[in-house]
């Protein structure tokens, strides 16, 4: 089956517009993954808007190894832990582009996990290139460019569905990142100097387009390639996520599950 035929087997729904706080974002990802897995909502792509800055750490990262909590606190940055693996990232309202794909596992049947990362972000690489950005996929999970890394993806397979989410820097201050996110020395060992490893090349450095224009172009690319219908979060989905944000993602117990 061709790449496009795989996508086109489903009626994709778009969720987009409303802003949420960091714990709520984590909760929505879990709730929507669960709902797609149970067939209670169609395969969905969600574009995120943030109400507050956050450091989002990976499921398997040590909180204190990754984040300077005092520094994060001083900058008013909330630290949350997501349900997917991968590395810590800094997000700020209006300064990143983040989306989640909630899909049935059949979408990537027969692919290795690594292949599925590139497949699930291929439309984004295509869109960025159409905007004149020299972007490509860097396995395992990075969207990168000649000028530096643009963003990273992470996946979880839970509740009978795949969650694949990606954050791209639009206008993140690269100087700010190392102040709150620690970088292990060993991590640099096969990529040379620190500046190369963590060199982030936000989209705004690579194009003059406003964030909203890029995001709308991404949505249009998805729609033309895969088909896409406007949708919305249902009130019961929001309620369930609020409860989960309160009892899990907003708690120290979860954030510090690996202290």
């Amino acid at each position: 089956m061709s790449e496009l035929a795989r996508w086109r087997k489903y009626r994709w729904q778009l969720i987009y517009g409303e802003a949420f706080d960091p714990a709520m974002q984590m909760a929505l990802d879990e709730v929507l993954t669960y709902r797609v897995g149970r067939g209670e909502r169609p395969p969905t792509v969600r574009f995120w808007e943030w109400t507050a800055p956050a450091v989002v750490i990976g499921r398997f990262q040590s909180l204190r190894n990754e984040v300077d909590l005092e520094e994060a606190n001083r900058h008013g940055i909330t630290v949350v832990r997501r349900i997917t693996g991968g590395g810590a990232m800094l997000t700020e309202p209006g300064r990143v582009i983040t989306y989640s794909i909630y899909a049935p596992p059949e979408l990537v049947a027969g692919m290795s996990f690594q292949e599925s990362y590139a497949f699930l972000d291929a439309w984004v690489v295509e869109a960025l290139r159409a905007l004149g950005i020299d972007a490509w996929y860097q396995p395992i999970n990075d969207i990168t460019s000649a000028r530096g890394k643009i963003g990273g993806a992470a996946q979880a397979r839970r509740h009978g569905a795949i969650l694949h989410h990606t954050t791209m820097a639009y206008d993140i201050d690269p100087e700010k990142v190392p102040r709150v996110i620690r970088i292990g020395r060993e991590k640099l060992s096969d990529k040379g100097v620190r500046s190369a490893e963590r060199r982030v090349a936000p989209l705004r450095q690579q194009t003059n387009l406003p964030r909203e224009t890029i995001q709308e172009f991404l949505i249009r690319t998805f729609a033309e390639r895969h088909g896409l219908q406007e949708g919305a979060l249902r009130p019961d989905e929001i309620d369930e996520a609020r409860e989960l944000a309160r009892t899990k993602f907003g708690t120290w117990e979860w954030t510090a599950i690996l202290p």
Binding site: S62, N65, G85, P139
Partner: protein, 94 residues
């Protein structure tokens, strides 16, 4: 004690542990790798618990691989391996 190892082209593994009476204790495995299901992390760390502190990298990797096999469900490690965890553990010990 703390050790790290980054798989070339892959992800970083960090191991924290104590050595008590010549054996590994309080083993903790963290990093920016991908792992399904997430509960397998406890199996990986638990496999090193009680291992002799002079165990070789191969022996430590073998303990992890065997423990994962005993899970009787598919476990997916992406960006790291039992060998990578064993190497980070050896680095923590020495």
């Amino acid at each position: 004690m703390h050790g790290e190892y980054k798989t070339p082209g892959g992800k970083l593994v960090q191991v924290d542990l104590d050595v008590v009476d010549g054996r590994l204790q309080n083993v903790r495995v963290t990093g920016d790798f991908f792992l399904e299901p997430p509960e397998a992390l406890e199996i990986i760390a638990g496999a090193l618990e009680g291992a002799p502190s002079n165990a070789s990298e191969d022996e430590l990797a073998c303990r992890i691989a065997q423990a994962l096999k005993r899970l009787h469900q598919p476990v997916e490690l992406l960006g790291f391996s039992p060998e990578a965890v064993a190497r980070a553990a050896r680095r923590a010990i020495s």
